[in-house]
Amino acid sequence: MISIIIFILLFAGGSAFFFYNVSKIRRNILLGQDARLKDKPAERFKTMLLVAFGQKKMFNRPIPAILHLFLYVAFVITQVELIEIVLDGALGHHRLFRPSLGGFYTFMVSFIEILSVLAFIGTLAFLSRRNLLKVPRLVKSELNGWPKLDANLILLGEITLICFIFMMNGADEVLYSRGMSHAQNMGDGSLGLTISSHLGPLLFGGMSEHSLHIIERIGWWGHICMVLGFLNYLPYSKHFHILLAFPNVYYSNLEKKGKFRNLESVSNEVKAMMDPSFTPPVADPNVPVRFGAKEVTDLSWKQLLDSYTCTECGRCTSACPANITGKVLSPRLIMMKTRDRLEEVGKNIDANKGEFKDDGKSLLHDYITPEELWACTSCNACVQECPVNIDPLSIIMDLRRFLVMEQSAAPTELNMMFNNMENNGAPWQFSPSDRLNWKND
């Protein structure tokens, strides 16, 4: 009875704190500007199925894709067992589903065990890719400090979780074969779990009943505590991608990548300038008109969702021509800085009773420098690479727009190009009347 109460308190507390933190992230994301991304639900759903659920873009790099697939499938399927664990905990049962599911139960838990072994291998491989093989995109200096620690903590957490599963199942197998398990004995002498029916006797075969019960309970409680701990770690970590990948892909850009947004606010001004009879629509006085973005709140909610979805894999940066040739631009860092600033703005709002108090900082300049922005060739390699359809380029473009249209801070050569275009209708200094001269050259 006491264990049921402890379990329910732990579970309720863990879930509540998680939803509290998620609601804060949701609030932060909704600080962004409106983005019209609710059209074409069928196409969006299909994209989500292929890219997020089906991991399509991951398979451009087969080795990490397969390792990641082990962890991903294990994570998804284990949720079934988690339902049983939660119900067992709340009702004081043990292996609640076993009597009713029978052979299917054995199959399901065995399947989860096999996936857990694969996930274990995957996790070890990922740890060695980061710490021993030092895959370039995973050891770049931009990851020093928290990002690196975060990545390793996630992987160690996964290993611990898998160990608890096998402690629980292994000890239970030995107990069951001795007829001492809490699980309903179905007279077959083994739970029949593919891995644990071998691993259990091997590891725990010589132990007393008392020790086995303790190990089984440590496994069970350790598992559920790790799950709740992990759940609450997510909102503080890049690992939040396991949840946000799905909505982020659903709301991804379905247009051609070369198509950049035309700013409506600019269209109205240009139309008014070219056609005196044009009356621009009355602007909402509550929305400050700012061309481009200086602060995270000038970006769209989708761009902010992108920043929380990024799991810092660095495929974007490893494909970026500017980064490859030693420039300071890193698309991954653009996403990380956007999230860092957004977190800072969120904390500021929390600390000041729901109102943002000017802290004299902004995303542009204090986090992302013009040198980074001007290194971009707008080639879309970063957008193409991202397995969860994050668009770093759109943030770079919006920040450039602010630099140019609000601060007149374009590089000198670009200002000359603008002048040429205004005066001659070409980016170079040629007379428009010479445009057809090539015909006679």
């Binding site: 030693g326 630099l403 010479d434």
Partner: protein, 262 residues
């Protein structure tokens, strides 16, 4: 050189005729000495295939692409709206461009400003002319030569067009070698996003050198391109490695025109 047969929209209008297609030449194609050769190659092919085409001539103006990518949305939209007024005035329906940047801008960014046209890149038009038999290539000077194609970002990733230039080059009877980074994974030449008009930011290498190195590793006879800016960047890269005697940088249109000895 003899004068090419090129009529403007104004010429067609005066004679009461309508062309099949408008050839949008672009600023590089109009003013840059190297790119002008690509323009002429396209014109020769169009004339050879008896395509009734027109150019805007002095009525053409920059699409605004470099201004937009550099963040100057005002200037972009001013250019766009002025061009749309001219194009709509001539009731233009179909446009072929000699540059992926013009192509992308007119195709994708003009519609919401009032400019709706069917827009194709010149490699798509060439593919169409070959498929419909309006031009034919048998053998030609590139037979047996090794050619590698550099995907322009705004044709490839920007608009998912990877096969048109390749299917055109198949007709040359040449060996088509692919760089490791090609199609979706193609590496930029370094000129996009208005970089063409400024010095690169500080780094340890130029992007065009990185890309040219990759192309030269295949020992090609020709590096084929589909964009006047890529052409400049790759030509500079080849010169950097002192290979201009053995490796040519040519637009797909030039390959076709030379193969047909036009």
């Amino acid at each position: 050189m003899s004068e090419l047969s090129v009529k403007t929209m104004a010429d067609y209008m005066a004679s009461g005729e309508t062309p099949e297609i408008l050839f949008w030449v672009g600023c590089a194609g109009s003013f840059d000495d190297r790119a002008k050769k690509i323009t002429k190659a396209i014109v020769k092919i169009l004339n050879h295939a008896n395509v009734k085409f027109a150019v805007l001539g002095t009525e053409e103006s920059c699409t605004g692409d470099p201004a937009k990518r550099a963040g100057n949305e005002f200037l972009f939209q001013m250019q766009a709206m002025a061009n749309i007024t001219v194009l709509n005035g001539y009731e233009v329906k179909k446009i072929v461009t000699g540059c992926p940047h013009c192509f992308n801008t007119i195709k994708n960014e003009y519609p919401s400003l009032g400019g709706n046209y069917e827009v194709v890149h010149h490699t798509q038009l060439l593919q169409d002319l070959l498929n419909t038999g309006r031009i034919k290539i048998e053998g030609g000077s590139f037979k047996g030569k090794k050619i590698t194609f550099h995907d322009p970002c705004y044709l490839g990733r920007g608009n998912d067009i990877y096969e048109a230039p390749r299917s055109v080059m198949v007709n040359l009877d040449a060996e088509l070698a692919e760089m490791k980074r090609s199609r979706q994974n193609g590496l930029c030449c370094g000129a996009g996003g208005a970089q063409m008009f400024k010095e690169a930011e500080k780094g340890n290498k130029e992007v065009n050198i990185e890309r040219t190195e990759e192309a030269l590793a295949l020992n090609p006879d020709v590096i084929a391109v589909g964009c006047p800016f890529c052409n400049t960047m790759m030509t500079d890269g080849v010169k950097h490695f002192n290979k201009e005697q053995t490796v040519k940088v040519l637009d797909v249109a030039e390959l076709i025109a030379q193969a047909k000895d036009l």
